[in-house]
Amino acid sequence: MWQFFHKLGSPKWFYNISGKLMPYLAFVAITLLVVGAVWGLAFAPMDYKQGNSFRIIYIHVPTAFIALAGYYLMAIAGAISLIWRMKMAGIMLKVSAPIGAAMTFLALFTGAVWGKPTWGTYWVWDARITSMLILLFLYLGIFALMQAFTREELAEKSAAILALVGTVNIPIIYKSVDWWYTLHQPATLKLTEKPSMHPDMLWPLLIMIAGVYAFYALAVILHARVEILRREKKTGWVQALVKQ
Amino acid sequence: MPSLVSANDLGFSREEKVIFRGVDFTIHAGEILKITGPNGAGKSTLLKVLAGFLTGFDGELSYQGEPLEQGGHFYADVCYLGHQLGVKSNLTVYENMAFFRDFFPSNPVLSIDEVLDQMQLWRLQDDLVSTLSAGQRQRLALSRLVLSQASLWLLDEPFTAVDVEGIGLIERLIAQHASRGGAVVMTSHHTVNLECKHLAMPGFSDQGEDQ
């Protein structure tokens, strides 16, 4: 177990193994996304209230899921790199920040697009949307902090600490934002309460969630591989790889 | 008598880069160790490891015969003086000294007045440090060593920006500390008028092995 953990920390090992696994992962991700999207967009029944516009949840919900999960994954990577000084964890932390931010932005954007036909406005200041926006700011903060340092190790450690502080803070932020909005607009907007979904609508959603998770993993691995090559460009194995 | 501090194959690396490695030395009470080597040989880093600023060294470091665990240190028994002097420029000389005496483990018999006298800062005691010259600041920083009860002094280039008179003063302080059973590890580009052992950073001197 420890050996495996140790190996996982080696960029060279990660590069080789991820290179082998990537085609399968890409296949899984694409299949899930295509199946989920076609099923969800073309074959799932229309919502009796919202019509066809509800179909954007097939992108909105999965990206919203991964946005929050991605922050915690990033923070865990940060913790590992701080405690065990594992190189790969630092790389993961670095590459997952912009990807997470992109996912959060996508969730916000699709939410706005969904909001216009459904509630007549692109943006409402409700608890869920505001929390999502703050999550985007948290991501951008980590990204900005990392960019500010010239020394990579310091950038990673600082970002890891900030991410960890963020994980403690996120529940408090969510709770406080939620509390604030229920204080002011008691149950005027019931957008967050979902009625139980019809299985024909739910199945494609679950497939899309799995597909977006796989896509996220793929994106992180791809970026990590680029980052590995950039960092290890002076080492023998990368030089050999380039010469091939 | 056990050695005060000894290093066995001591090394330190940062971001995969080896700053130094393979350092061996032993220092007993009353000894002065001068570390030599060109710029970039890791002299300052070695002192910082000894001072406990940097954790996570390789090899073995023992204090009074006991090996140190990673993360453990003998903070109470070292006093470090580096390029950054650790004096507050918006406090007076006296206030700085009072802080040194009260905050760090210090010699209970020595009074601030005596130290002011010894460091020739008596006249300046109520002046703000920001008005002092570089050499005067250095003397103030050295008073932290004099006030402390630490047996190991770590001096990183203590003669920088000090006039001839100042150099004599610092040498006297070091000799005095050694004669009272203290130990000193220092780096310097100057030749020092002191009886001391020499340690060449490995990989950089004629005697050192190549890596």
Binding site: I161, N169, S176 | F53, Q84, G86, D102, F103
Partner: protein, 224 residues
Amino acid sequence: MTPWLAFVKKECLQVIRKPSASLLPIFFSLMVTSLFPMVLNLSEQQLQQVAPAVLIMILLLSALMTTEGLFQADFDDGTTALLFASPHSNYLLYGTKVLVSWFSSGFMLSVFAPVLGFILHMPQHSVLTLFVAFALGSLNLIFLGAVGAALTVTLRNTGMLLIFIILPMNVPVLVLLAAILNASNQGLAVVSNYLALLGALTLMTTFLTPWVISAALKINLESQ
């Protein structure tokens, strides 16, 4: 004198030597607050309604300005390194340092908070609420800001960056302050409950952040 007291004395002396650090936030707040009635051209009633938002933004900005560069001087002159190589708890030292800095800036500003409320026609009964809310709020914001200051201690001109990384973390405090000041405007009794909630949050921040601050300073120190 115990080492801790010596440290407190040193920090206090430094604050006393630089009274502008305490006075500037107060002047800043007074000036900005009086600008609002000038440019907004609102009735007393309307001013009272925007008052919480204005006051919270002012508190937020002055707290961030206080924390920017809080550890820089110590870091650059080698004091930070000496503190780490001292046998004393850095958790305690940094907690103390931030507390002293809060007392000299945030707390002093809190004393003037009722004046700011008066400028914006907050009701008279909100004097005490304003003071307590400002004191607790600034304590919380300064401890959070200190985390950012410690993380960016080796960087220069960090004002914008500091705001960027710390602002999202400030949201719970801002929300609570808004609830408190609005409720105080309306004369609701629930104000004391909200204040208690803010107190609890502040207590948590005060006890947790010094640990993060010293860890952040340590990694910056070690990479020098």
